[in-house]
């Protein structure tokens, strides 16, 4: 049987040209400039400090906003990176054939994980006190006026086996273990992929399938717990049982959008010739479907809390909806992440042609940043937050740094898994 896939250049590698590097660096520098201007403005405009002190909490410092920004982007881009690995593992566990030529693009996103791990842990040590309410020792001191019974009850989740209020060893261990295993699985996948390119045969595919299954089990647990740790614990009193899924869905949509954008970008540069509109259509369906999935989770969380009307639960949405700073962003969030993708990507043609997908995927990457902004800032900054130069700049800096790392990683290996046993099936894929 003739394999038509052999007509394509399967040995091609992505050439990370100085031209592409330069344009990404330009965005990075613009972002850095905006960030610096934003920081300077925040340092000079210290007018909010007195208000903060009046409100009974700590006085507000400009660097708290910087920390909150770093934390938003740490969590967000860690999510995009791990979703790349997750989606890769899904392809193997599901024995998917259609996606064979683009699996390496998905895997490349994992290159950000080691850097994300370092950034996350360093930020936690530097900024943890300013980001997390539960870091304050007096909350756990029964003799203190600040003693909080509810947070005391949750304390062991952060501090075990140390005494509450001292050093959050359990929290840090979880962070290290999650990143450790994620990076471990990522490098395992990379190793098997490299061996497959060298040696061929189907044994590597079977090996990859087994490791993918192990990873998925680990990721199912770790993605939820990391969402509680890194995001939900900011609003320490409050809890939501589907928060892990909600954060995961936000990550997943952003990650799928990034993968789709990367595939369209590579195709535009003349790579991945065997990827045609049928494969792009499938990616489009994933983006469309999981945007609705995100909306479903967002709304499920909102509706139950709104309907039950229990004060300790509604506080989360009251804090956001009644705020001058965040109230509007709730609706921006819904419009960007549900209404527009839903309407634009509904037709078959929109999912098959790059223009609409590029538009919607870019929108979604910004939109889900807004989602994380709404999760993190109200709890850390209160009315001192908002989207300003610092937010835009930090997002651009992180985004272009991730692009540099991911594309750099992609350029190192083969772009197409040339010995993947389902390459021919993928070429014949037709929907």
């Amino acid at each position: 049987m003739a394999h038509e896939v052999q007509n394509f250049n399967l040995d091609q590698k992505f050439d990370f040209t100085p031209g592409i590097k330069k344009s990404i660096m330009t965005v990075l520098l613009i972002g850095a400039a905006l960030l610096v201007v934003g920081i300077v403005l925040a340092m000079m405009g210290g007018g909010h400090a007195e208000e903060g002190a009046e409100a009974g909490g700590h006085a507000f410092h400009w660097y708290q906003r910087l920390y909150a920004n770093i934390w938003i982007n740490n969590v967000y881009f860690t999510g995009i990176a791990i979703v790349g690995v997750f989606f890769f593992a899904i392809q193997y566990a599901a024995q998917a054939g259609w996606s064979a030529p683009i699996t390496r693009v998905m895997l490349a996103f994992g290159n950000w994980l080691p850097i994300a791990a370092v950034l996350m842990i360093v930020t936690f040590f530097v900024a943890g006190h300013d980001l997390f309410h539960w870091w304050h020792a007096e909350l756990f001191d029964k003799n203190s006026a600040e003693y909080d019974k509810i947070i005391d009850g949750k304390g062991a989740f952060f501090y075990w086996p140390m005494e509450k209020g001292t050093f959050p060893i359990f929290y840090i261990v979880r962070m290290v273990v999650f990143f450790g295993f994620w990076v471990f699985f990522f490098s395992k996948f990379k190793k098997i992929a490299a061996a497959e390119d060298q040696l061929g045969g189907t044994s590597h595919w079977f090996k990859m399938r087994s490791w993918s299954a192990y990873f998925l089990v680990f990721f199912a647990v770790s993605s939820s717990i990391s969402a509680w740790d890194w995001v939900m614990s900011i609003d320490t009193h409050w809890f939501s049982t589907l928060f892990g899924w909600y954060v995961f869905s936000s990550w997943f949509v952003a990650g799928l959008s990034a993968i789709t954008l990367a595939v369209i970008f590579l195709k535009g540069k003349g790579y991945l010739e065997m990827v045609n509109e049928n494969h792009v259509h499938d990616l489009g369906k994933f983006v469309f479907g999981f945007s609705i999935f995100w909306t479903y989770l967002w709304f499920s969380q909102f509706l139950l809390i709104y309907y039950a009307n229990i004060p300790e639960e509604t506080v989360y949405f009251v804090e956001r909806l009644t705020s001058d700073v965040y109230g509007g962003f709730i609706f921006v969030n819904i419009a960007m992440n549900f209404v527009l993708p839903f309407l634009v990507l509904m037709t078959r043609d929109a999912k098959r042609h790059g223009v609409f997908l590029k538009l919607v995927c870019t929108l979604l990457i910004v939109g889900h940043w807004v989602d994380f902004f709404l999760m993190v800032q109200p709890g850390t900054l209160g009315h001192n937050g908002g989207v300003g130069l610092m937010e835009v700049g930090m997002f651009l800096v992180y985004g272009s740094a991730v692009a540099l790392v991911v594309l750099g990683g992609l350029a190192k290996g083969n772009l197409i898994p040339k010995n993947h046993p389902m390459l021919e099936e993928s070429y014949q894929h037709h929907i």
Binding site: F299, F302, L303, Y307, A308, N309, T347, R348, H430
Partner: protein
């Protein structure tokens, strides 16, 4: 409507031969009435030059109808017909209406789509199906050509084209309706 309809049928045994035959027959200028096969043949609708189904448009419109009906119903009931305060909310509490609106959208889109499909495919219970050849339910593919649609071409010529495209037999079939 009383009229006799006459068809020329080409019987094919292999789906690959069939796909090529459809291309050949169409390029020689014969208009194909329909192709019948015992199982879906991938790419057949493509070589027959069928346009994409417009069923999704019907689904969208019926879905919109469902949404509007559900919202109108709930607003009317909760705001005007029998106002009730539930959970300390307004009478017309929009978020409460979403689940019902969603369900009505899905329900009407599904029912509407099934209904439109049945009407457009003539799937009514009293319809008399045209059986061109009983073997299309077993192991043969049949290409039906309506003589009336190909009046410019001689019947023998059509049979010749079918034969040369790989048909194992060529038959005539008439229906009295």
């Amino acid at each position: 409507m009383e009229r006799d309809t006459h068809f020329v049928l080409g019987v094919y045994e292999d789906e690959d031969v069939l796909l090529d035959a459809v291309k050949q027959v169409r390029s020689s200028g014969v208009k194909i009435h329909e192709v019948y096969s015992p199982y879906p043949v991938h790419g057949l609708e493509h070589v027959l030059g069928y346009k994409r189904s417009r069923l999704p448009i019907a689904a969208f419109l019926f879905g919109m109808l469902g949404t509007s009906l559900a919202l109108t119903m709930q607003f009317y009931m909760m705001k005007f017909d029998w106002p009730m305060i539930i959970g300390g909310k307004d009478y017309a509490a929009f978020p409460d209406f979403i689940p019902v609106s969603f369900e009505m959208t899905v329900l009407l889109a599904a029912f509407g789509m099934v209904g439109v499909f049945m009407v457009s495919s003539n799937l009514k219970p009293w319809a008399q199906p045209r059986i061109f050849d009983v073997r299309i339910t077993d192991d043969k593919h049949v290409m039906a050509i309506d003589i009336a649609n190909n009046s410019a071409m001689d019947q023998e010529k059509i049979k010749e084209i079918l034969k040369s495209s790989g048909a194992t037999e060529v038959n005539n079939k008439s229906f009295d309706e």
